[in-house]
Amino acid sequence: MPADSTVTDERVREETLLARLMKRPELGAIAGLILVTIFFLFTANASMFTLSGIMNFLTPAAQLGILAIGASLLMIGGEFDLSIGSMVAFAGMIFGALVVNLGLPLIVAIPGTLIFAGMMGVVNGQLVIRTGLPSFIVTLAFLFILRGLSLVGLKYLTGGSTQLRGVRDAVGDDWLAPFFSGDAFTGLFAKLAEWGWIDTFKSGAPKVPGVPVEILWFIGIALFATWILLRTPAGNWIFAAGGDKNAASNSGVPVNRVKTTLFIVTACCAALVAIMTVIDAGSTDARRGFQKEFEAIIAAVIGGSLLTGGYGSAIGAFFGSIIFGMVVIGLTYTSIDQDWFQVFLGGMLLLAVIFNNVIRKRVTGER
């Protein structure tokens, strides 16, 4: 019997395509994104939605988003990692030390940094699994520990300063650098500018020299994570591990392996962001990534992930990060008094998630 014979059930009403789409957690956040976009279209300076304006708010959104996608996978798998913000500072320091103090090329320094971060992920994961303590408290301890070690390490490396400089000089024109910093498609954009398709300065150089590479990473990681979640056995295990640890383990899901892997992935996402920002800025300091763990969780939750695990999506975190990035940067384009920044940020976040919710319920007929 073919599988589709089930649809001839008299107990199922017809459902619109829209309703079917809105049921997916990954698409819920689109409504909020549209709302926020419309808001800014009306209130913000026109330059916000020029090409350079869009790149401008997408860059921080992308950096946050890479963290948020890692965090959302981990959240779906039923755990938290509060140490990712500190991991950005710590991995940045490690990377700086490898590149500046040891003078290693990127081909060694980047994997080295990722391995270091991955090892921290293993430590987090093993502690959570072995002790049975909530990951909240275990990774919280590492939030403090890694942040503190970054400070101590930087002072040691620099002989007293909290900023390690000279990364740009040290990286120089390493052939790997363009994959982790600067803009991609610069040739294309120069051509587009030549043809007059995009804005240029008087000099003829395009106003936007290219697409910042973090945006490409962001999109790539979002797609990859979505594929993993929805189209691989590993994705099924992540949902299962987060949905009910015992039930999953009783059904044969290697829950501990899944969770440890997720901790590693999250830590590596943080390290990746660290590498990109450190090369970009040419320096690193002890305050990098401050409170990013928090923002990453916010973005994941806006994107529809449940804090209790077992439900969510990477695409949701993708949209959530863009919403967050847009709101944070967007206010500056409006004429609203900047003192109201936090009120505005909170208000917009609340509006966006409520709107998501209302739209979803309306469309799918839930109550």
Partner: protein
């Protein structure tokens, strides 16, 4: 001899890490035993508790910064009452005497902001942006307020998070949406100053047209000053704010010597010509 230093800035704050380095150097030079303590965020309630904790140990001297005399006053008075010599530093020059402190080393945030504002006005600025990465931290707010006073023209405060990428994007956004802004003052060199310079450069019209200045020093920002991408950095020589009070108190404990008046450690504008000399010291956490 034991001396305790309690400041309101965190150990990982680039500005305060320099103060701490000064404290440590002084301890080494004078051979006293020094503890440096600070709350984990700008938190006056927690800071007063740290002062109380220090007083309990009855040190031979206490160095405190006083950004809020109301909140910290009782604790400092308790120290004075317990017979502990107190020197205030960085913030609190106006209340130092009335709280019973021996003297004050440092410079008022407001005055420093005012000096910066005057200088930027001199450079032709009319429309300013004050990039504040920690709104609500009173000493940073005072820098902005001082800037506004000295600058005279229009000043907009831009509250940001602590993240360089956010700051760069927000400064760019501010400059894009209000093209009349010709002056940017950042309140911290590494966190806000460097991204501000990058934001201005990314607009492609940087260099001469928009002046960027910043409080405090960071090697990166000093390089920008040297290259002419930034106008100047405002240096309080905060190393002195750590070094001097400790050595004064050490001398006081040993010989009963103490200067008779306050010491002004700044402000000191680091412009293009001086930047090169300072970079190395800054990279070591001395300036």
């Amino acid at each position: 001899t034991d001396i305790v230093v309690v400041s309101h800035g965190q150990a990982n704050d680039p500005f305060w890490s320099v103060v701490k380095n000064g404290v440590e150097q002084a301890a080494k030079d004078t051979g006293v035993n020094v503890e440096y303590r600070s709350p984990e965020t700008f938190d006056m309630v927690a800071m007063s508790q740290l002062i109380d904790a220090a007083v309990n140990q009855e040190p031979d001297g206490l160095v405190v910064s006083v950004p809020d005399a109301d909140a910290l006053g009782p604790s400092i008075k308790r120290a004075v009452a317990a017979g502990i010599p107190v020197i205030t530093m960085n913030a609190g020059s106006d209340v130092s005497k009335s709280l019973g402190a021996l003297l004050h080393v440092g410079q008022d945030e407001f005055t420093a902001g005012e000096r910066a504002g005057e200088k930027l006005k001199e450079m032709g600025g009319k429309n300013g942006l004050c990039v504040n990465q920690e709104v609500g931290n009173v000493s940073l707010d005072q820098r902005c307020a001082g800037f506004a006073k000295g600058f005279g023209g229009q000043v907009k405060v831009l509250p940001t998070t602590n993240d360089p990428a956010d700051i760069e994007a927000k400064v760019r956004a501010a400059l894009q949406s209000d093209t009349s802004i010709d002056t940017v003052l950042a309140l911290g060199a590494a966190t806000a100053g460097e991204p501000s310079v990058k934001a201005v450069k990314a607009l492609g019209e940087g260099g001469g047209k928009i002046n960027v200045a910043s409080f405090d020093l960071s090697p990166g920002f000093l390089k920008d000053v040297e290259n002419g991408d930034a106008a100047f950095a405002i240096d309080q020589q905060q190393y002195l704010q750590g070094y001097l009070p400790v050595s004064f108190l050490a001398l006081n404990a040993k010989y009963g010597l103490i200067p008779a008046s306050n010491v002004a450690s700044g402000p000191n504008l680091i412009t293009k010509d001086k930047a090169a000399q300072v970079v190395d010291l800054s990279a070591k956490g001395i300036r």
